[in-house]
C-alpha cells in the first residue's frame, strides 16, 4: 500500500463511494442515537418530576405545624441530604428543613428546575420544585440527580466513542478499498503504457474473477488481440509491398542503366524501353490491385449495390473462362441448382472479378484432364457459389494464410500473379456480407462463398430476372 499516494486515493471512485456511504451511515446512526438519548433522558427526568410533584402536593396539603413536623421527620430519614426538603419564609430565610438557603433568588413557581449544591468541594446537581404558600412562605422539595446526569454522560460518551470507532473503521475501509482500486488501476495503466511504448504482446492483468473490472479487461484484451493481429498484418503487407515493388523497380533501374551503358543501336534501346515498360506495368498492376483491395475494404462501394442474380454472374464467368480451360485441357462446367433465386445485393463487377479470380486460380492449379466445377446453390434462405477443382488442394494449415495479402503458397512461388488475388476475393466477400470457406474436395480444393438471400427481390419469372440482372 506504500506505493499508493494520498492524492491518488482521494480521486478514486471507490474511495469516494466508500466516504459517501460512511457519511450516510453516520447521519443515520446520529439520528438513531439522538432519538435514544432523547427518549431515555426524558424518561428519567419525568420519573423525578412526578415524584417531586407528589411530595410537594402532600406537604402543601398539611397544616403549617404538620408541615414542620413532616420536614423534621424527612430530615431525620435523609441524613445525607440527597433529597433535601425545606420551608423558607417570604424573605427567603430557612424556617425548617435540610437545605440551608434558597438555591436561586428567583424561583420558578410550580415548575421543576435544576440547581447545584456544593458537597465536599464538588458541585452536585439537584432537581427541585418550589411552591409559594398563601402565607408567602416557600416550600421546596428537591432530589439529587447526580446519577441521572452520570448516566446521561455515560450514554453520550458511549455514543461518541462508538461514533469515533465507526468513523475510523469506515475511513480505514474506504482507504483500503480505494487503495485496492488504485493499485488495480496502476497495474492496468502500467500495462497500457507498456503496450503504447511498443510491447504489442502485452495484455492487461486479470484476477480470474468474473468481477466487473475483469469483464472490462477481458474485452479490452480481446481488442488488443485484434490490434496486434492487424499490426502484424500491416507490417507483413508493408514488407510484401516493399518486396513486390522493389523487385521490379530494381530490374527497371538496372535495365535502363545497362541500356545507357551498353546499348549501341536503336534496336537495343527499343528493347530496353520495352523491357522498362513491361516492368512499369507490373509495378502499376501491383499498386492498382492494392488500391482496389483497400477501396473494397473501405465499404464505400456498398452505396452502389443493386439486387442481382448470382447464377447469371456465374454463367458469365464460366463463359469467359471456358476457352482458357479448353486450352489447358481441363473440363469446366457450371451447375446452376438455384432455380434462378440466388439473388443478393451486390456489385456485379466486383462479384465477377472475385468469382473470376477463384476460377482462374482453379484452372491454373488443375493439371490437364482435371475438372473445375462452379456450382450455384440456393436452399431455403442460404445461397452461395462453390468453385471446386481436382488440383493439388490447399493444405489445412495454409488455408487461412492464402487469404492474406501477398501470400503465395510454396507450390505457386514460380507462377505469375501478385499474390493479391485471394485477398481481393476475401475483401469482396466481406463487402457482400458473405462467408468464405476453403475446404478439401478430396481430391482438390473447393472454395465456397455463402450467405443469406436478399428477400427484397420481387418474385419474377426467370427470363425477367435475367434481364434485370444485366441492367
Amino acid at each position: 500500500m506504500s506505493s499508493v499516494r494520498l492524492s491518488d486515493l482521494r480521486r478514486t471512485t471507490s474511495f469516494r463511494l466508500a466516504l459517501l456511504f460512511l457519511a450516510l451511515f453516520g447521519a443515520a446512526s446520529l439520528t438513531l442515537f439522538g432519538f435514544l438519548y432523547w427518549q431515555t433522558a426524558g424518561y428519567l427526568k419525568s420519573g423525578t418530576d412526578e415524584w417531586l410533584a407528589r411530595e410537594i402536593r402532600s406537604l402543601v396539603a398539611a397544616s403549617p405545624s404538620q408541615l414542620i413536623e413532616h420536614l423534621q421527620e424527612h430530615a431525620a430519614h435523609d441524613p445525607g441530604a440527597n433529597r433535601p426538603f425545606a420551608l423558607f419564609d417570604a424573605a427567603g430565610n430557612k424556617v425548617e428543613g435540610n437545605l440551608a438557603n434558597l438555591p436561586t433568588s428567583s424561583l420558578p413557581s410550580d415548575r421543576p428546575f435544576e440547581f447545584s449544591l456544593n458537597r465536599g468541594g464538588e458541585a452536585v446537581p439537584f432537581r427541585g420544585l418550589a411552591r409559594r404558600l398563601p402565607s408567602g412562605d416557600i416550600v421546596l422539595v428537591s432530589q439529587n440527580v447526580w446519577e441521572m446526569h452520570e448516566f446521561r454522560e455515560l450514554l453520550l460518551g458511549a455514543m461518541a466513542w462508538g461514533g469515533l470507532l465507526v468513523l475510523i473503521m469506515g475511513l480505514a475501509g474506504a482507504a483500503a478499498i480505494g487503495a485496492g482500486s488504485v493499485r488495480r488501476i496502476d497495474e492496468v495503466t502500467g500495462a497500457i503504457e507498456r503496450i503504447v511504448k511498443g510491447n504489442l504482446a502485452g495484455r492487461l492483468p486479470t484476477r480470474g474473477t468474473a468481477g466487473d473490472l475483469d469483464r472490462l479487461v477481458e474485452v479490452v484484451n480481446g481488442m488488443l488481440d485484434d490490434i496486434e493481429r492487424l499490426m502484424h498484418e500491416v507490417k507483413g503487407v508493408s514488407d510484401a509491398v516493399a518486396h513486390d515493388l522493389r523487385t521490379p523497380l530494381t530490374r527497371l533501374l538496372a535495365g535502363l542503366e545497362r541500356a545507357g551503358r551498353r546499348a549501341a543501336s536503336v534496336d537495343e534501346y527499343a528493347a530496353a524501353v520495352d523491357e522498362a515498360i513491361g516492368e512499369t506495368k507490373a509495378v502499376l498492376s501491383t499498386f492498382g490491385a492494392m488500391l482496389r483491395i483497400s477501396e473494397v475494404e473501405d465499404g464505400a462501394r456498398r452505396a452502389g449495390f443493386k439486387t442481382l442474380d448470382l447464377a447469371a454472374i456465374a454463367a458469365d464467368v464460366t463463359e469467359f473462362y471456358q476457352p482458357l480451360a479448353e486450352a489447358k485441357g481441363v473440363s469446366f462446367s457450371l451447375k446452376d441448382e438455384s432455380g434462378g433465386s440466388a439473388r443478393i445485393a451486390g456489385d456485379p463487377s466486383l462479384l465477377f472479378e472475385a468469382i473470376g479470380n477463384l476460377v482462374d486460380n482453379a484452372i491454373k492449379f488443375t493439371p490437364s484432364e482435371g475438372r473445375v466445377t462452379v456450382r450455384v446453390f440456393c436452399e431455403n434462405a442460404r445461397l452461395g457459389i462453390i468453385v471446386a477443382d481436382t488440383g493439388p488442394g490447399i493444405p489445412a494449415e495454409e488455408r487461412e494464410a492464402v487469404l492474406r495479402r501477398f501470400y503465395r503458397a510454396e507450390r505457386s512461388r514460380n507462377t505469375s500473379g501478385s499474390g493479391l488475388g485471394l485477398s481481393l476475393v476475401a475483401a469482396v466477400t466481406r463487402l457482400h456480407g458473405l462467408d468464405l470457406v476453403i475446404e478439401d474436395a478430396r481430391p482438390g480444393c473447393s472454395v465456397t462463398l455463402r450467405g443469406e438471400r436478399d428477400s427484397t427481390w420481387p418474385n419474377l419469372a426467370a427470363a425477367e430476372r435475367t434481364v434485370l440482372a444485366k441492367l
Binding site: 506495368k281 502499376l284 498492376s285 492498382g288 488500391l291 482496389r292 477501396e295 464505400a300 462501394r301 452505396a303 452502389g304 458469365d316 463463359e319 469467359f320 473462362y321 476457352p323 482458357l324 486450352a327 456489385d347 456485379p348 463487377s349 466486383l350 465477377f352 472479378e353 473470376g356 482462374d360 444485366k470
Partner: protein, 227 residues
C-alpha cells in the same frame, strides 16, 4: 484531320498526351485550366475532348463538362481521373462524359478510346451489313461469312467480332473489349481475352486464309483487311 482538345493542368502530362495523340494523327490543342478549356471549346469545333477530372482554379472537370453540355457543345468527352472508385466513374458519365479513364493509363488505351469516340460520330450506325475485306457480318440475320464461306460463332464471339468490325483499322484494347463485350468494369489483367481472340481468329482464318485480327503491342488488337 480530327481535332482534339486536351484540358489538363499538369503541363508535362498535357504535353505527353498531346504528343501521343499527335503520333496517332490527331491535331491537338491544350488548355491548362477549366476556364481556358471552356473558352477554347466554345471558340473552336473539336471532334473530341480529353478532360482532367480535377482542375485548379475553381472550375473543375465536371463543372466544365456540365457547362459544355448546357451550352450545347456535344463533342464526345473522355474524362481522365486519379479517382478510381466506381461511383466516381458513374458520376463522370452521368455528368455527360462519354468515357472514363483512370490515371495512370497506357497511351495506347487513351488513343484507342479517342479514336473510337471520334469515329462513332462520323459513321451513322444505320447499316445492316458490316464488311471488312472478305469478311461480312449481317446484323439482321447474325450470319458471318469469310470469303463467302459461313463461319459458325458462339454468341460472345459474334459480339466480339461485331465490335471489332465496327472499328476497322483501329486499335481496340483488351480493356475496351472486356467492358464492351462482357459488360463488366474492372482492370482485367489475365490473358483470357487473348484466348477468346485466338479462338475467334482460328475460326475466321480456317482453311489457311490470311489473318484479319492483328495483335498490337501486347495490349490491343486491330481488325483490318488482309493485304
Amino acid at each position: 484531320m480530327a481535332r482534339v482538345l486536351v484540358v489538363e493542368d499538369d503541363v508535362q502530362t498535357a504535353a505527353e498526351i498531346a504528343a501521343a495523340l499527335g503520333d496517332s494523327g490527331f491535331d491537338v490543342d491544350c488548355a491548362h485550366t477549366g476556364r481556358e478549356g471552356l473558352l477554347k471549346a466554345g471558340a473552336d469545333r473539336y471532334e473530341a475532348i480529353v478532360l482532367d477530372r480535377m482542375l485548379p482554379g475553381g472550375v473543375d472537370g465536371l463543372a466544365v463538362l456540365s457547362t459544355l453540355r448546357t451550352v450545347g457543345i456535344e463533342a464526345p468527352v473522355l474524362i481522365l481521373s486519379a479517382l478510381s472508385a466506381v461511383d466516381e466513374r458513374v458520376r463522370g458519365l452521368r455528368a455527360g462524359g462519354d468515357d472514363y479513364l483512370t490515371k495512370p493509363f497506357e497511351f495506347l488505351e487513351l488513343t484507342a478510346r479517342i479514336e473510337v469516340l471520334v469515329r462513332r460520330q462520323a459513321i451513322p450506325q444505320r447499316e445492316t451489313m458490316l464488311r471488312v475485306g472478305d469478311l461480312e457480318l449481317d446484323l439482321l440475320s447474325r450470319e458471318v461469312r469469310r470469303a463467302g464461306r459461313p463461319v459458325e460463332l458462339l454468341p460472345r464471339e459474334y459480339h466480339l467480332l461485331e465490335y471489332l468490325m465496327r472499328q476497322p483499322n483501329q486499335v481496340v484494347t483488351r480493356t475496351m473489349l472486356f467492358e464492351e463485350v462482357w459488360g463488366y468494369h474492372y482492370d482485367e489483367r489475365t490473358n483470357v481475352i487473348d484466348v477468346h481472340i485466338g479462338k475467334l481468329r482460328r475460326k475466321l482464318d480456317e482453311g489457311g486464309l490470311p489473318t484479319l485480327i492483328y495483335t498490337v503491342r501486347s495490349s490491343g488488337y486491330v481488325l483490318r483487311a488482309a493485304e
